[in-house]
């Protein structure tokens, strides 16, 4: 097999993994083609979050943060162990964000032409490439103390989140807008042509309904910046910032595979530098840096003299004019300690704020099956899969609702979408167990099992039509999905402004039964600020955030049940 073939294999591998990654996110969706007679619970036909379980940084960080390796994360060894022997093959061959950066970097730019000194110089090893190691150490130290921040910058969750909550919804909006615009001309053949193109694209690319996400601009800003930075430096993100790349670089310390340079045949044409992805100094006369190399094999493929060769057990000795390769990462001891200390300080700093313990946002409604908040913050990698899969568009990335610490973690906004009682999809897709997978019985409860509660509904009597405006309504009661209904009505005769008697049914909440699903808030006709709203109190996951001393649930045996967790 020639080196050209191997390089083409690498290109194929990049496309393949990129397509698979995107396909999995597209499939993270409530699929209509399920036979209702054979499945009582709606389950996804594919393990759509599997790509995230291959991420070694997710595995390491969640292991440090919550002490367990959640099921499926063992897959990450499939990436990590070969890396120990081979180096960062993941970055050059597999990583979908890396591939995206690769392709965007290779588009000719004004600043750095394909040839020439500027490009060669920019592809030499630079000190900024150390930043990623400090980022890695910082987030790892923070994880050890219990706050999981790797997901913000870890490429796989980052890409999943960006595609799921930014790219696809924006594509949908653009497609709808374009279709409406073309149709607005009113030329029949053009309209129907546009419609058929739309119908062709829709089943694969568009969600079955338009979705809207809270605060996606911040996610878009980070993702857009990462993509744009490729125009300044080739793969700036991969070289300088990516904490997963840093982790894999550190783990390639004892790699047995590497670049061997033949000094004698080299005529210093610098073609290797022109095509280098990792800025790892493949040229002769500089130290090749194993932890920076993505194993893209470009340097060997373009070398006209055959001076560069990737092989097992390359020589580690150098000469006066050709220094030996370096396998250690280039970080200073002081900055290592500073990064670790910074990460360690992050945890007490975040928890000294008010958003976690003393003044948690009452609207912080987590998805059903979520673990307690401290454990949640030690598990959630903000991949956005739960938001993507939610059929009601109920789950959204937070901005500051759970403090700076929890940015982009999922929050349920009932006004936009309520939690469907029969749905357990968010727990099915969560790759780290921040949202546990519930069975249908655990979700809605039965005679023995309490239902999973995410909060409790309350009435704003000053805004409620039967309470404040002598007007019949009861839409909330109609929508209440528990049986018996948590919302009950009492008929009263009230006087309107003219003194006429009006018979209204005034709604009340029974907090013993309410699960906080938010259907009432969603359906309330008081559009802008609903007269019934859900707050997190009473949520199953918290022993403290409770309203009642004891629950008396009429749907279960008459004995009093202690507050279930």
């Amino acid at each position: 097999m020639t080196i050209q073939t191997v390089r083409n294999l690498r290109r194929f591998s990049q496309v393949l993994f990129f397509v698979v990654f995107c396909w999995l996110i597209l499939k993270t969706n409530f699929d209509i083609d399920i036979d209702p007679t054979t499945v009582s619970e709606i389950t996804l036909p594919y393990p759509v979050s599997i790509a995230l379980q291959f991420d070694p940084l997710v595995a390491l960080a969640t292991l440090l943060a919550n002490g367990t390796l959640f099921k499926g994360l063992l897959w990450s060894l499939v990436i990590l162990i070969p890396t120990i022997f081979m180096g960062r093959f993941f970055c050059g061959w597999v990583c979908p964000l890396g591939s995206l950066n690769h392709w965007l970097s290779e588009i000719r730019s004004e600043r750095l032409s394909f040839r020439g000194k500027g490009k060669i110089e920019s592809n030499r090893y630079k000190k900024y490439q150390r930043i990623k190691y400090y980022i890695f150490l910082f987030v790892i130290a923070a994880a050890l103390f219990g706050t999981l921040q790797t997901g913000l910058l870890d490429p796989l969750p980052l890409l999943a989140r960006s595609i799921g909550t930014v790219v696809l919804p924006a594509t949908h909006a653009a497609a709808d807008g374009a279709l409406g615009w073309v149709k607005s001309f009113g030329i029949q053949p053009v309209s129907s042509a546009a419609q058929s193109v739309y119908d062709f694209v829709a089943p694969t690319l568009l969600n079955f309904r338009r979705v809207h996400f809270h605060g996606i601009l911040t996610i878009a800003l980070l993702f857009g910046s990462i993509l744009v930075l490729n125009r300044v430096f080739t793969r700036f993100w991969c070289r300088g910032l990516c904490p997963l790349g840093a982790m894999l670089g550190i783990f390639s310390r004892y790699a047995i595979f590497g670049l061997q340079k033949d000094e004698k045949s080299c005529d210093h044409c610098n073609l290797c530098l022109l095509s280098c992805q990792g800025a790892d100094n493949p040229d002769i006369g500089a130290k090749w840096r194993q932890p920076e190399c993505h194993l893209c094999l470009n340097c060997q493929a373009v070398c006209p003299q055959g001076s560069l060769k990737f092989k097992f057990f390359p020589t580690l000795e150098g000469t006066v004019t050709n220094p030996p390769p370096i396998q250690k990462v280039d970080i200073s001891k002081r900055k290592t300690i500073a990064s670790l200390a910074g990460g360690a300080a992050l945890f007490p700093l975040l928890r000294s704020g008010d958003s976690f313990e003393v003044a948690a946002n009452e609207r912080l409604i987590r998805p059903p099956g979520s673990v307690a908040e401290d454990d949640f913050l030690a598990r959630c990698i903000r991949c956005g899969q739960c938001m993507r899969v939610c059929p009601n568009n109920a789950l959204h990335p937070t901005l500051l609702e759970s403090g700076v610490e929890g940015i982009w973690t999922p929050i349920l906004i009932p006004r936009i979408g309520y939690c469907e009682p029969s749905c357990t999809l968010c727990g099915q897709v969560c790759p780290t167990g921040a949202i546990l997978e519930l069975t249908m019985t655990e979700k809605v409860g039965d005679k023995e099992t309490p239902p999973n509660r995410i909060g409790t509904a309350f009435f704003d009597r000053g805004r409620c039509l039967p309470w404040a405006m002598a007007t019949p309504c009861i839409v909330c009661e109609e929508w209440c999905p528990t049986s018996p209904k948590s919302i009950y009505l009492k008929e009263e005769v009230v006087l309107d402004r003219e003194g006429n008697e009006v018979r209204v049914q005034r709604p009340y909440i029974d907090p013993n039964i309410c699960t906080g699903c938010g259907a009432c808030e969603f359906a309330c006709p008081v559009v802008d600020r609903p007269a019934v709203y859900v707050t997190s109190v009473g949520e199953s996951r918290s022993p403290d955030n409770q309203l009642l001393l004891r629950r008396k649930d009429p749907s279960r045996p008459p004995r009093e049940i202690p507050n279930e967790r």
Partner: protein, 317 residues
């Protein structure tokens, strides 16, 4: 400046100015693209009254398909309602993400049978649709209606934004309102409600089921629900009403959820008079139609007769 250059530049500048001015003139006070959807107005699908047939039939049979056939035959058979080549829209109640057994949605078996009957009668196309409360895909899936209807040969259409047309319903309360076009752009409309308890209206049967043809903010209609039901029922006149009383939701309606709230009745009603149908079906809930607000109001508006025995009633129990 040379003469040639002077001419060139002034010509170009004048041309550009003319384009700008012309464009301004053209677009001034006019919308250059047209957002207005074409108006459609057919909403009365009733058949011509025929004295040979009763206005309401009821059959009780544990075989629900047989109950449907029997009730339908008694009211004039499917041939009276569907002619060859016609386009039929069936409107079951698919409002909620519930299974058929929970009795919040119309029986999929009956919907499937109805589709088959329409196609056998020569219908060119049968559409099954509903504007659901819960997310439409889940409702159609879990209720089993999508599968049953498609197996029988119908096209199941879930509501999408583009398919609503704003229509003047001409009611006292309901005027301009978005209606799902499949319920107005068709030749025949068959209403297939299920009998359920409802806290505001006591019961939701045929007329209340018509809410499902509307889009928009229908949760505001509850403020004057009786009048809005009557407005809607005066607007949308189905060809035939087939009431599913095989299971009746006694409590916790209209969404239900608990099998304890369901009564098994094995009954199907066919009607050309919706008021009569609602009056008879309300009895399953232990209600006297003469005390149910919207049914009384509907009779006053001339939509039908509460005293169903007076309009021709045939039951087969």
């Amino acid at each position: 400046m040379k003469r040639r250059e002077f001419l060139k530049r002034t010509t170009k500048a004048t041309a550009l100015a003319a384009v700008c001015g012309g464009a301004g003139w053209f677009f001034n006070n006019r919308q250059w693209f047209n957002y207005e959807p074409p108006m459609v107005s057919k909403h009365d699908f009733e058949v011509v009254p025929d004295n040979r047939f009763p206005q309401l039939t009821l059959t009780r049979d544990e075989n629900h398909a047989a109950a449907l056939y029997d009730a339908l035959d008694a009211i004039g058979s499917i041939k009276r309602f569907v002619r060859p080549g016609e386009r039929v829209t069936i409107k079951p109640n698919v409002g909620w993400d519930r299974t058929a057994a929970q009795a919040a949605t119309t029986s999929p078996l009956l919907v499937g049978e109805m589709v088959r009957l329409c196609l056998e009668a020569g219908a060119s196309k049968v559409i099954v649709s509903d504007v659901t409360c819960n997310e439409a895909r889940r409702c159609f899936l879990r209720s089993g209606i999508r599968e049953a209807a498609e197996k029988a040969g119908a096209e199941v259409i879930l509501p999408v934004q583009d398919d609503y047309v704003v229509m003047d319903l001409g009611g006292e309360l309901l005027t301009g309102w978005p209606v799902l076009k499949h319920f107005v752009e068709t030749d025949r409309l068959i209403n297939m409600p299920i009998v359920k308890q409802h806290s505001l209206t006591s019961c939701t049967i045929s007329m209340k089921n018509l809410y499902g043809i509307l889009g928009g903010r229908r949760n505001q209609l509850h403020q004057k629900i009786d009048q809005s039901i009557v407005d809607l029922a005066s607007f949308s006149r189905p060809t035939l009403t087939v009431v599913d009383a095989t299971r009746v939701l006694m409590r916790g309606g209209p969404q239900g959820g608990s099998l304890d709230d369901v009564n098994i009745e094995h009954t199907v009603l066919c009607a050309t008079d919706q008021v009569a149908a609602d009056a008879r079906a309300a009895e399953f809930l232990g209600l006297d139609a003469a005390r149910v607000g919207h049914i009384v109001l509907a009779e006053k508006a001339g939509l039908g007769t509460i005293d169903y025995r007076s309009v021709g009633y045939k039951e087969n129990i």
